[in-house]
């Protein structure tokens, strides 16, 4: 058995002619592919680098613009806040002027303010007016201004709408001429007086 094994193991027979030519051809093609592959990789590398640079520049510009935009937005918000603050201050000042005008009007003072002690204690906080039923009602100047100024142009918050409409009805449902019972007229008068001055 060993004999035939050795014979087969060591058996040699020449391959057909042209075998080497095929191998050589394949080897040469593979070299060409390898060179092409190197160049391809080189171009791929440069292409990827360029693409990455463009992306970085783009992202950088977007980030810069965003920061600039956010700075501008911040400035506008601050400006808006200042305007709102100014509006609030103006509103409070107007309320005070109206209140002072009402309090300093000697003709209507006694009729409007029925409770002097309240006036003395908190002279700038509350007014006591007579409602259409003849009952005294305490009301703050801010609320009074809010009630009077609430219209379609500056509608109140929905949750307040019902109450404010009710009070507007109460205030306006007396007479057309200004009276001490018609608080809306008083406010209007005070405002007119302020404008005349």
């Amino acid at each position: 058995m060993q004999d035939f094994k050795n014979k087969l193991y060591n058996y040699e027979t020449p391959p057909p002619e042209g075998t080497w030519d095929h191998i050589e051809e394949v080897l040469n093609n593979q070299k060409a592919i390898k060179i092409l592959g190197y160049h391809k990789n080189k171009f791929l590398f440069y292409g990827a680098t360029a693409a990455a640079s463009i992306i970085i520049i783009f992202l950088g510009s977007v980030f810069f613009k965003k920061n600039t935009h956010s700075a501008i937005s911040k400035a506008s918000v601050e400006k808006e806040n200042q305007l709102i603050g100014q509006k609030i201050i103006d509103s409070i000042n107007l309320n005070r002027r109206i209140l002072n005008s009402i309090i300093n009007n000697p003709n209507e003072k006694e009729e409007i303010i029925s409770d002097d002690s309240i006036l003395r204690d908190t002279p700038s906080k509350y007014l006591t007016i007579t409602n259409p039923d003849g009952q005294p009602v305490r009301i703050s100047p801010k609320v009074a201004t809010l009630i009077i100024s609430a219209d379609n142009e500056y509608p109140p918050k929905p949750v307040w709408g019902k109450e404010i409409r009710k009070w507007q009805k109460i205030m306006l449902n007396t007479t057309i001429s200004p009276t001490s019972a018609n608080f809306a007229d008083l406010v209007q008068l005070a405002a007119n007086k302020e404008n005349r001055e």
Partner: protein, 164 residues
Amino acid sequence: MQRLLYDRFSSMMYAVCLRYCNNPEDANDLMQEGFIKVYKSLSKFRAEGSFEGWVRRIFINTSIEDFRKKVKLYNVSEVPENTIEEGDLSALDVLAAKDILNIINELPPGYKVVFNMHVIEGYSHKEIAKILGITEGTSKSQLARAKGFLKKILETRFSKTGEK
């Protein structure tokens, strides 16, 4: 250098390829594939064994890969390996290598590859099972059947020779 290597080993490796495939065309394809692998893998040669053995191993692996692509071996019921005694194949010893090769090439592909790997190359059944993806039992069974097949071929050949 590539040409030198080819000139040195081509005849030997072509014989290896012929043992594992069925025709010279397939053997030629294996030659090309095997030599290209050798050239590509030269840097991996660690000089731990003979260079010839390393080259041969590449060609055997290439041949087995090709065999596995073309032939699917299924696990079969075991047949005791030594059903056919090696002495029954002693008739092969008197034949020339080329004739032995021709007889072995008459074996069915599954038998031939296991016979080549175990008997000629010296792989164990465990190694063959791992390489071919079969069980050791199947490897043993294939070998036993290959021997049986060879015995029949030899009996037929020699009986005809004797009759003449």
